[in-house]
C-alpha cells in the first residue's frame, strides 16, 4: 500500500525526516519498502502483514505514527447530517437475509448529484497514489477508502429497481455483469447486493456495471457496510477477483467505521451541491464484539525477558485505541487481531522496541542427536565425491511422460495446480532429472560429467504417499565402463550391512540389455539404452544408477569383522580355461566356493577374460587366479598341488577345457 506524507500530516504532526520515519515504522512492524520524493511530497510504499487491516489507510498509519512518537492523533469525525426539509426526506429500505454474512449495512441517498470531474485537490491525491480519477462520486468513495480505510460503494439510485436494497445469497442461475464488464455466473454461496429484481453487486467485492455511476446519474445510493471476512474471501476467490474492497473485508474491516464513512462521503458530496435526502439507514446484524483482555505484568516479563513499566504499557495500548487500565483492556473495533493476552504483549513489545529486550544464550541439558541416517548419508556423499562424482540438487517435480518410461509401475503423486506440464507430478524416478543434468553439462562443454544426487522419490502406495530416499548416479565419461560403474555401485553398497546379493542381468527396458545389472532391490545400474540416449541427445555411453537408500539406511552401516592377516606366505596359481558363454563368473566362483571347501583356498579372481575368433563363437577364455594360504603354517608344495588339482577338477566339471 502507498501513502503520502502530506496526507498523513493531516492526522498527526510529523517531525521526523521521511527516511527516519520509514526506519521507525519498519522497526515497529510496519515495513516501508521504499520512500520516494514525488512532486514536492513523499510517497511511502508499505508492505503490510495480513493481520493488520487497520493499517490499510492514511489514518491507520497516522495512528501508528502517533503511538510511536507520542504525538496527538487528530480525531476523525464527520459533521452530523444536516436536518432536511420534510419534502426531501428519503431513505432507502434495506433488508438483510443473513445477518452473519452481512453484519451491518448503512445506506443513504444523495439527490441533485451532478456527476463530473473531482476537484483538483482530490484528483491529484488519487493520482499521487497511482490511481486513476474516475468521476467526483467514485473518486469520493476511493478517497475515503485511502483516508480512513472503509470500503463503500455508490449505486445509481434510479437504476435500482423497486428503490430498495436486499442483501441476500445469490440464487441458482443468476448472473451479474460486474464493473469490469465481465458477466459472472453467481454461486448460491455468493453474497450479493440486490434490488427487488436482481443482483447489482457482489457484496464487499465489486459493483455491477448497470447500476454504476454514470454521467447521467443524478441520484445516488451510497453503501457502507460490513461483510463477513470468509464470505467475501470465498466469493473473491471463486470469481478470481481481488479488489481494494475485498482486500479489506477479507482481513476484517472495522464495523464501527461503516456509518462514519457514509457520513464523511455525504458531507463531502454536499460540497459538490448534492443533497443528502434523509437520514442514514443503519441495519445492524451480528458483528464481532471486542472482548476485554486480561494483561498480567508477570506474563509480559516471563515472555519478553524483562518487565515493561505499567505506565508505558498503558500509554502504548491507549495510543492504539485500547480502552482500560492496569490489567484489563478492551481492544478497539478496528483491531480484529487483538483478542488474547499474547496479542497485547506483542503490541507492547514492538512499540516499546524489540531492541530494548536483552539477549541471552539459553543453557540446555540433554543430548543433541543428528538424524539416525546422517552418518551413513555423509559416508555415501564423501565416498562418491572422492570418486569424482559432483553432488547435485534438483527440484522434485517431473513430467509424467518422462517418469513413466523410467518407473512405469509407480503410481505418481499429481500436483493439482502445477506451474507447467513439466512439473505436473512429483518424480517417481530420479533418472530423468539426472539425464537432464548430464545433458546440460555436455551442452555447455563440460567434457566428462560425473554426478550424483541424494534425493527422494514420491509415489502412492495403497492410496498413501511415500517418499523413499534414493541415490542416483550419472556419468558420460569415457573413463567409465560397465565394470567401472559396477565398482562404484558396489563401493556404495559396501558401506552398508547389505546382504551379499547376486547381480543379475534382468533390467528394465530403458537400460542397455547387455550392459546393465540389478542387485536385488538395492541397485539398478548400467548403460542407458542407446535408442533412449539418441532420443535424449546424449552419448551412446551414458551410465546411470539408482540405489534404494531407504533400504540401505534400514540395513545400517557395515559392521567391521576383523581377521588377522596370515603370517605365512600365500601361493598363487593361474588356471586358463575355455568355457561356453553360459558359464558366468558367478557360476565359476560359486563352484570354487561350494561345499566341501577346497583346502586352503583363500581367494579366486578372474584375472583375464578373452573372447575372439581363436576361441570360437559362444565361448570365451578365462584366466582364474587362485590364492592358497593357511593361517597355521607354510603350505607344502604337495598340499598346494592337491588343492590346485581340486580347482581344476571343479572348473572341468563346469564344462571348461583347460588350455
Amino acid at each position: 500500500m502507498k501513502v503520502l506524507l502530506s496526507w498523513l500530516r493531516e492526522y498527526v504532526p510529523i517531525t521526523l525526516a521521511p527516511q527516519a520515519l520509514a526506519a521507525r515504522l519498519s522497526l515497529a512492524g510496519v515495513a516501508v519498502e521504499r520512500v520516494e520524493a514525488v512532486g514536492g511530497d513523499w510517497l511511502f510504499d508499505l508492505d503490510l502483514t495480513s493481520n493488520r487491516p487497520d493499517l490499510l489507510s492514511h489514518y491507520g498509519i497516522a495512528r501508528e505514527i502517533a503511538a510511536l512518537t507520542g504525538e496527538p492523533l487528530a480525531k476523525l469525525e464527520a459533521p452530523a447530517l444536516p436536518a432536511q426539509p420534510p419534502s426531501v426526506t428519503v431513505t432507502i429500505p434495506v433488508t438483510i437475509e443473513d445477518e452473519q454474512a452481512c453484519g451491518r449495512y448503512c445506506a443513504l441517498v444523495l439527490e441533485q448529484v451532478r456527476v463530473g470531474d473531482s476537484p483538483a485537490a482530490i484528483a491529484e491525491r488519487l493520482q499521487g497514489l497511482g490511481h486513476r480519477a474516475i468521476n467526483n462520486i467514485a473518486d469520493l468513495t476511493n478517497h475515503t477508502l485511502w483516508a480512513m480505510g472503509h470500503p463503500t460503494h455508490a449505486f445509481d439510485a434510479d437504476r435500482l429497481q423497486g428503490g430498495e436494497i436486499r442483501v441476500r445469497w445469490a440464487r441458482p442461475g443468476e448472473a451479474l455483469v460486474t464493473l469490469d464488464a465481465i458477466e459472472r455466473k453467481l454461486d448460491p454461496k455468493d453474497l450479493v447486493i440486490a434490488d427487488r429484481e436482481r443482483p447489482v453487486a457482489l457484496a464487499g467485492v465489486i459493483g455491477g456495471l448497470e447500476t454504476a455511476i454514470s454521467a447521467a446519474t443524478t441520484r445516488v445510493v451510497l453503501e457502507s457496510a460490513w461483510f463477513d471476512p470468509l464470505t467475501v474471501r470465498r466469493t473473491a476467490r471463486r470469481h478470481g477477483l481481488h479488489t481494494d474492497a475485498s482486500h479489506r473485508f477479507e482481513r476484517g474491516a472495522d464495523p464501527e467505521a461503516a456509518p462514519l464513512a457514509a457520513r464523511l462521503i455525504a458531507a463531502a458530496a454536499q460540497a459538490y451541491g448534492a443533497v443528502v435526502a434523509g437520514g442514514l439507514t443503519d441495519q445492524v446484524g451480528t458483528l464481532p464484539r471486542p472482548q476485554a483482555i486480561r494483561l498480567r505484568p508477570a506474563a509480559i516479563a516471563r515472555l519478553l525477558g524483562r518487565s515493561v513499566p505499567p505506565e508505558d504499557c498503558a500509554r502504548l495500548l491507549r495510543a492504539l485505541g485500547c480502552d482500560g487500565e492496569d490489567e484489563v483492556w478492551l481492544p478497539p473495533s478496528w483491531r480484529p487481531d487483538l483478542s488474547r493476552e499474547i496479542d497485547l504483549i506483542e503490541e507492547i513489545a514492538r512499540l516499546y522496541g524489540y531492541d530494548r529486550f536483552p539477549a541471552r544464550l539459553p543453557g540446555f541439558q540433554g543430548v543433541a542427536a543428528p538424524l539416525p541416517e546422517a552418518g551413513m548419508r555423509d559416508r555415501v556423499r564423501q565416498q562418491l565425491r572422492g570418486r569424482g562424482f559432483a553432488e547435485a540438487v534438483t527440484v522434485s517435480f517431473a513430467a509424467e511422460s518422462e517418469c513413466a518410461r523410467f518407473a512405469p509401475q509407480a503410481a505418481p503423486v499429481r500436483v493439482l495446480n502445477p506451474l507447467s506440464a513439466e512439473a505436473a507430478i512429483l518424480r517417481t524416478s530420479s533418472l530423468p532429472a539426472m539425464l537432464q543434468l548430464l545433458r546440460h553439462n555436455l551442452h555447455h562443454g563440460v567434457g566428462a560429467p560425473r554426478l550424483f544426487e541424494l534425493g527422494k522419490l514420491y509415489r502412492l502406495e495403497q492410496g498413501k504417499p511415500h517418499e523413499p530416499a534414493v541415490l542416483s548416479l550419472g556419468a558420460c565419461d569415457p573413463g567409465l565402463d560397465f565394470l567401472g560403474l559396477k565398482g562404484e555401485v558396489e563401493a556404495v553398497l559396501g558401506l552398508f550391512e547389505a546382504p551379499g546379493l547376486a547381480c543379475t542381468a534382468r533390467v528394465p527396458g530403458f537400460l542397455h540389455p547387455g550392459r546393465s545389472g540389478r542387485i536385488g532391490e538395492l541397485a539398478l545400474f548400467g548403460q542407458l539404452h542407446p535408442e533412449l540416449a539418441a532420443e535424449w541427445k546424449l552419448p551412446a555411453e551414458t551410465w546411470l544408477a539408482e540405489l534404494d537408500l531407504h533400504r540401505l539406511y534400514a540395513a545400517g552401516p557395515r559392521r567391521v569383522c576383523y581377521t588377522p592377516p596370515s603370517r605365512y606366505p600365500a601361493s598363487e596359481r593361474d588356471f586358463s580355461f575355455v568355457f561356453t558363454d553360459e558359464v558366468s563368473w558367478a557360476r565359476v566362483s560359486a563352484a570354487l566356493h561350494a561345499a566341501p571347501p577346497i583346502a586352503h583356498l583363500a581367494a579366486a579372481s578372474p584375472a583375464e577374460v578373452f573372447r575372439g575368433a581363436a576361441i570360437g563363437e559362444g565361448h570365451y577364455s578365462l584366466l582364474v587366479r587362485v590364492r592358497f594360504q593357511s593361517q597355521e603354517r607354510t603350505l607344502r608344495d604337495e598340499e598346494v598341488q592337491a588343492a590346485a588339482d581340486a580347482v581344476a577338477a571343479r572348473l572341468r566339471a563346469l564344462g571348461g577345457k583347460q588350455r
Partner: protein, 359 residues
C-alpha cells in the same frame, strides 16, 4: 717427465734384478713415481687381481727381491696399496654421485605445470550451507528431525494456527495434490515438523528441521517452486524473547563471522507471537550501505518468533508452564548471501562449471 700407463705397467713387470736400485732413497723415488701417477687409470689398472700394478709390483719387485730389501720394499708397496685403495674408493664414490645426479637431472619436471586434476568433486553449496548450519545448532544442543514433504493440511496449516479461509493460507501459494489426496499439500514450510516433534516429545526440547519445501512460485533469480528450508524450535520452562535474540545472534556470528550484527524487526506469522524478521548487518559493506543491501546496511535473513500459545494448544503443551521460540530460514538465501550467487536457478542446474567452484 711422468711415465705413461704403458710405461708404468712395463716398469712394474720388470723383475727386481733388472731394476738396478741401489739405495732406499732410489727405491722411495721409484715407488714415488708410481704414487705420483695415482689419479689416473682405473681401479682395475692399479688394483686388478691378475694384472693390476700392485699385483705386478708384488710379483716382479717384491717376490724376487733379496732378503735385505724385502722389509723396506714391502713397507713402500703396502703404503702405495693403501693409497691406491683410498683413491679407488674415492673415485667410485664420485662416479656414483655423478650417476645419481645425472638421473635426478633427467627426471626433472617443470613444477610450474598445473597438477593433474584430482578425482575429488564438490559437495553441493546448498548442502554445505545446510550442514554448516546444522553443525552450529547441534553444538547448541539442537537435535535434527525430519518429516514428510507430502504433508497433511492439518500439520501444514491447522495445527500451525492457519485455519481454512485465513488470508495467511493463501499467501503461502500452496501446491495442492490430488485428485485422490484431498487432505494433503506439498508442505509450504518445514514448520509442520514442529508439530510432529511436539506431538512425540515432551518439553524441554530443541530441534532443527532441514528439508525441502514448496511454493507455487515460477522459477526466477530469487524464487524456486522447490527450495530448502531449515526450521528451528526450542521449548522449555522459561524461554523468552531474549533467548530467541541471543540464539539467533550467536548463529549469525557463527555463520557470518564475529563482526556480524543483528536486529529483530516486528513481523507476522500465524504460529509465532511476537513475531520478527532477523536482519544481519550487510556482510558486503559492513553496514555502510551497498547495492546488495539496497543501501540499508541490513540484509533480511529469516523469520522467527515466540511460539504462539495456540500452537501449544494443538499439541497439548500448557502455555502457562512452557514457552518457546521458533525460526525458519531459506537455505538457498543463506547460500546466495554467503557466496554472492546472483541466480538461484544455478543451484539446480547441476552445472559442473558452477558446482566445482565450491570445492
Amino acid at each position: 717427465m711422468a711415465r705413461s700407463a704403458e710405461e708404468l705397467a712395463a716398469w712394474a713387470a720388470t723383475p727386481w734384478p733388472q731394476l738396478g736400485l741401489r739405495s732406499e732413497a732410489e727405491l722411495a723415488a721409484a715407488v714415488g713415481e708410481f704414487r705420483a701417477a695415482l689419479g689416473s687409470g682405473s681401479r682395475e689398472f692399479w688394483l686388478g687381481r691378475k694384472s693390476g700394478l700392485l699385483t705386478l709390483l708384488n710379483e716382479h719387485w717384491l717376490k724376487p727381491a733379496p732378503g735385505e730389501w724385502k722389509r723396506a720394499l714391502g713397507q713402500q708397496l703396502n703404503q702405495l696399496k693403501r693409497e691406491a685403495e683410498a683413491w679407488a674408493e674415492q673415485q667410485q664414490a664420485a662416479a656414483q654421485a655423478e650417476e645419481v645426479e645425472n638421473r635426478l637431472r633427467a627426471e626433472r619436471v617443470d613444477v610450474t605445470l598445473p597438477g593433474s586434476p584430482a578425482a575429488a568433486a564438490a559437495a553441493h553449496p546448498i548442502l554445505q550451507v545446510r550442514d554448516e548450519i546444522v553443525g552450529i545448532f547441534l553444538r547448541l544442543g539442537y537435535s535434527v528431525a525430519d518429516g514428510p514433504e507430502i504433508e497433511t493440511t492439518y500439520y501444514n496449516f491447522e495445527a500451525l494456527n492457519i485455519p481454512e479461509g485465513h488470508p495467511a493460507r493463501e499467501e503461502q501459494d500452496t501446491l495442492y495434490l490430488g485428485p485422490d489426496l484431498e487432505h494433503y499439500v506439498l508442505r509450504t514450510h518445514t514448520s509442520p515438523v514442529q508439530i510432529r516433534t511436539m506431538e512425540k516429545q515432551a518439553p524441554p526440547l530443541r530441534v532443527i528441521v532441514p528439508g525441502k519445501a514448496y511454493r507455487r512460485d515460477a522459477p526466477d533469480a530469487t524464487h524456486s517452486p522447490n527450495f530448502h528450508q531449515l526450521e528451528g524450535l526450542a521449548v522449555d520452562a522459561e524461554l523468552h524473547f531474549g533467548d530467541l535474540k541471543g540464539t539467533l545472534e550467536h548463529f549469525a556470528r557463527e555463520f557470518f563471522g564475529s563482526r556480524a550484527r543483528t536486529r529483530l524487526r516486528p513481523s507476522y506469522f500465524q504460529f509465532t507471537e511476537p513475531s520478527a524478521e532477523l536482519d544481519v548487518s550487510c556482510i558486503f559493506c559492513q553496514g555502510r550501505g551497498c547495492r546488495t543491501c539496497k543501501h540499508s546496511g541490513w540484509i533480511e535473513l529469516l523469520g522467527c518468533g515466540m511460539v504462539d500459545p495456540a500452537v501449544f494448544g494443538f499439541v497439548g503443551y500448557d502455555p502457562e508452564r512452557v514457552s518457546g521460540f521458533a525460526f525458519g530460514l531459506g537455505i538457498e538465501r543463506m547460500a546466495m548471501i554467503r557466496y554472492g550467487v546472483e541466480d538461484m536457478q544455478r543451484f539446480y542446474s547441476g552445472d559442473l562449471r558452477f558446482l566445482e567452484q565450491f570445492r
